[in-house]
Amino acid sequence: MTSIHFRLNGVETDVDADPDASLLSILRGQLGITGPHFGCGANECGACNVIIDDHAVASCDTPLWSVANKEVTTIEGLGTAQAPHPLQRAFIAEQALQCGYCVSGILMSAAALLKRNPNPTNMDVRTALDRNLCRCGSHNRMVRAILRAAAEMQAP
């Protein structure tokens, strides 16, 4: 057991755990953060994506030690019903999901994209989400929602 320190959704966090444990298992287990979802455990679906220092990353194959002293953001840290992130507002406005299991990971990929490219094209969005799988076929609505959020964030 080692103590690892990082910032989780803006809160200083210390975890005593096996440093090789996956970040996802620590988030969902010890820390009770269930927004990031287990989908494949092999960085192939994006359901567990979180943002680590501005990059969307699959937390299922990210070892705990690698986030030491970094900033980790999960869907829980993106926004709340009272203070939603523009992406969350846009996903509701566009009804951009069906079952929604993939959505917490997709929102993190989208949030990371808008941070590095506030004015993405349709193709930029699709490229940024290409490692996120959606089985319900809500892709086009999600792209529309992300472009809508981008426009809203750009508006003066």
Partner: protein, 729 residues
């Protein structure tokens, strides 16, 4: 679904035989309400101002809970926000069988609409008594019932006076389509905010007090026997509570999820398996399907009053592979024993049906088993949801009364869950001297498309076949044609051919496990019929839209084809490497009508650029919900057609990860445009499965338009395209 009790008895009332003139049929309850007549099992009023609605159908990402809430709110005249939807449970929900077949609006929606219509009248009568005015001067607004002057009461005030613990009576008259204010309008789904804000809503995210974690050991080998199991390694794993072994069923229970994973890994190292059952050659699948022992059924037969002379017969063969459900979440369940009673939480599509199988396996009376639904990820049919529920129950036996959560691995989900059945379809058409179709023969070979729990006298759950005293591995069957059929679903053409013979051959062997996948056999059959018709139209030099319109007499069918063609500017001017194709079907021949025009770009690989669809679902309760379902269905169908094929070798399923079983990605998704025909006066039908067959055919027909090649073997991959080109040249 006519109850024999409502039939007039000819023995005691012979006069009914000669009764003059037609009399109106006595009113009947909708089938779901007739089967579950207790009004309070559907609707309750909570004193603080809520309407509690308990459907027997479950949310699987299709938005049904919202559509049902709309129906209840509309009929009762309450705001949507007052409606609280209860998840299905065998502890009290109406038994509506399974949530499948695009039937939830028909079944649950009609039951709720009629129950609410009756309840509304009961409350108006009670209000009339309390307020001392006639019922017809009362009006209801957001649950407040008011009359002349300041007279007013409410559902909630009157709830104590109105007895809902009674059976529904036939004859309630729901509002007409013009009186409804919510149904027919797009409303926001009530389950979406939780999902967008990452609040725990899925079964996967639910933590019960004192919960343990379990994992089940399964061999990669098909139907393997566990010959030896060394437990030492697993025993040393941190937090281990128990190792469970019963025949070929083995698993671990641990204090933590990581501990369960570690114990499973160790147990796997200590396990020896006998070689399992041989799997067929995946490259000769269509041939293999035709030579297996099979149960053959004539599905439909029709002969022309005056047979025409056949000048030529054209014969074509089509096939599709096994297709995985591919839920983004591996299946999950939780179970907890209290003495000889067990409670299980599941994302099964049918809580009562699962309970029936559990009762057989556990040898417990059904009332000792409580099955409660919780939302999972989209399932698209019968995946491992039911299997994992039994896994959790078996492991929880060793948990000393604590709840156990079991989650399948991605690899198990992609190899041990049932698949959509592979299909071989042969169609023959006899043409007369004018190349008109005078006879049509359609034969389909396939494993059965359903092995859902609760349907047979033997359970169909995976672990049941693994126990020391195993239940036999059931061979999948097909629902009867009256319920839409299985392998034969949509095999009967909607076209007005003078004669036909439709046959279905259901395999009696099942080396690869199959069960219900969205649309059952409809996707394969529609792909075949619509591809063949396109070919016949091309042979005749006739426009495929005009050809179909001429062969159809059903005006709703013609309307969706015209609407899709108009919206897609049929037929755009030819461009190099670009093709356009049409596909059409009425799902199950009784459900939603759907026509689609596909635009593709073809070279070595096929890219679907745009799908333009028109659908007729009758009354669209939540139009945006319908569009969402059609869009999603069209995109999933594109994925099946371009990419999906379960892979296997002689001993095991090899496509057990997303890299081995790729699905459509964001960069590959076509633009999708959907037009809904306005039919508020027609009973609603579901939308979730309407698009798959038409989209498959439209893409294949567009490939021909672009490249002059008929691909009759799905998926339309580079390999299958090259094989088809070689066949053409």
């Amino acid at each position: 679904m006519i109850s024999p009790k409502t039939e007039p008895s000819l023995k005691t009332e012979p006069s009914t035989v000669t009764a003059p003139g037609p009399s109106p049929a006595p009113p009947k309850l909708p089938p779901s309400l007739a089967a579950n007549p207790m009004l309070s099992s559907w609707i309750k009023f909570a004193p603080e101002g809520h309407v509690i609605v308990s459907p027997g159908k479950v949310e699987i990402g299709q938005g049904i809970v919202t559509a049902l809430a709309q129906i209840a709110a509309d009929e009762l005249d309450v705001d949507l926000a007052r409606v609280q939807m209860v998840r299905a449970t065998t502890a009290g929900s109406p038994n509506e069988g399974v949530t499948s077949g695009s039937l939830s609006v028909q079944h649950s929606g009609r039951a709720i609409r009629y129950a609410c219509a009756e309840i509304r009248q009961m409350f108006l009568a009670a209000a009339s008594e309390r307020l001392g005015v006639a019922p017809d001067v009362l009006a209801i607004s957001d649950g407040t019932i008011s009359g002349p002057g300041n007279l007013s009461t409410s559902y909630w005030e009157l709830a104590g006076d109105v007895e809902l613990d009674r059976h529904a009576a036939p004859g309630a008259v729901p509002k007409s389509s013009t009186q409804r204010t919510l149904a027919g309008n797009s409303v926001q789904r009530i389950d979406l905010p939780d999902k967008v804000f990452g609040r725990p809503r899925f079964i996967h995210d639910t933590k019960l007090p004192d919960m343990l974690h379990g994992r089940v050991l399964r061999s990669e080998l098909a139907a393997a026997t566990l010959t030896a199991l060394k437990e030492d390694g697993a025993r040393a794993a941190p937090g281990l509570i128990a190792i469970v072994r019963d025949g070929n069923f083995a698993g671990v229970v641990s204090e933590t999820e990581a501990g369960a994973e570690a114990a499973l890994l160790a147990l796997r190292k200590g396990a020896a398996w006998s070689p399992g059952e041989a799997l067929p050659d995946e490259n000769q699948l269509a041939d293999w399907l035709k030579v297996q022992p099979a149960e053959s059924t004539v599905i439909s037969s029709k002969s022309a009053p005056r047979p025409s002379e056949t000048k030529q017969t054209i014969r074509r063969q089509y096939s599709r592979p096994y297709i995985a459900h591919g839920s983004i979440a591996p299946s999950c369940a939780m179970a907890q024993w209290t003495g000889d009673r067990v409670r299980v939480w599941t994302h099964s599509q049918g809580v009562y049906l699962l309970r029936s199988d559990l009762s057989m396996i556990l040898k417990l009376p059904p009332d000792h088993i409580t099955v409660e639904h919780m939302e999972g990820a989209g399932c698209y049919g019968h995946n491992a949801a039911d299997d994992v529920a039994l896994d959790a129950i078996l492991l929880a036996k060793a948990a000393g009364g604590r709840p156990v959560r079991v989650l399948w691995s991605r690899a198990d989900e992609m190899s041990h869950a049932p698949f959509g059945a592979a299909m071989r379809i042969e169609i023959e058409a006899d043409l007369d001297a004018q190349n008109e179709i005078v006879a049509w023969r359609h034969s389909v070979w396939s494993n059965g498309h359903s092995a859902r729990p609760g349907r047979a006298d033997m359970p169909g759950l995976l672990a049941g076949t693994e126990l020391a005293k195993p239940f036999p591995r059931s061979i999948s069957t097909n629902p009867p044609q009256a319920n839409g059929g299985g392998g034969d679903r949509n095999s009967i053409p909607l076209y007005d051919f003078p004669s036909w013979q439709i046959e279905s051959h259901r395999l009696l062997t099942m080396p690869v496990r199959t069960s219900a996948l969205r649309t059952l056999g409809a996707q394969g059959n529609v792909f075949a019929i619509e591809s063949f018709l396109d070919e016949l139209a091309a042979e005749r030099g006739e426009d495929p839209v005009a050809f179909r319109l001429r062969l159809l007499t059903d005006t709703r069918a013609q309307d969706v084809i015209r609407a899709a063609a108009r919206r897609a500017n049929w037929k755009p001017a030819p461009r190099d490497g670009v093709g356009y194709g049409l596909g059409f079907a009425r799902y199950k021949n009784t459900g939603a009508y759907c026509a689609v025009i596909a635009e593709i770009e073809g070279a070595e690989d096929i890219t679907v650029k745009r799908l333009t669809l028109a659908v007729d679902v009758g009354e669209a309760i939540n139009p945006d919900g319908v569009i969402n379902q059609i869009e999603g269905g069209a995109i999933q169908a594109t994925s099946w057609v371009l990419k999906e094929r379960v892979r296997f070798d002689n001993t095991r399923i090899t496509s057990n990860s997303w890299s081995e079983y790729p699905i459509l990605r964001f960069s590959e998704v076509p633009d999708v445009e959907v037009e809904i025909m306005s039919r508020p006066e027609i009973e609603p039908v579901g939308a979730g499965e309407a698009a798959h067959g038409p989209v498959a055919a439209a893409i294949a027909n567009a490939v021909f338009d672009a490249l002059g090649v008929r691909v009759r073997t799905l998926p339309i991959t580079r390999d299958n395209l090259i094989a088809a080109m070689e066949l053409t040249s």
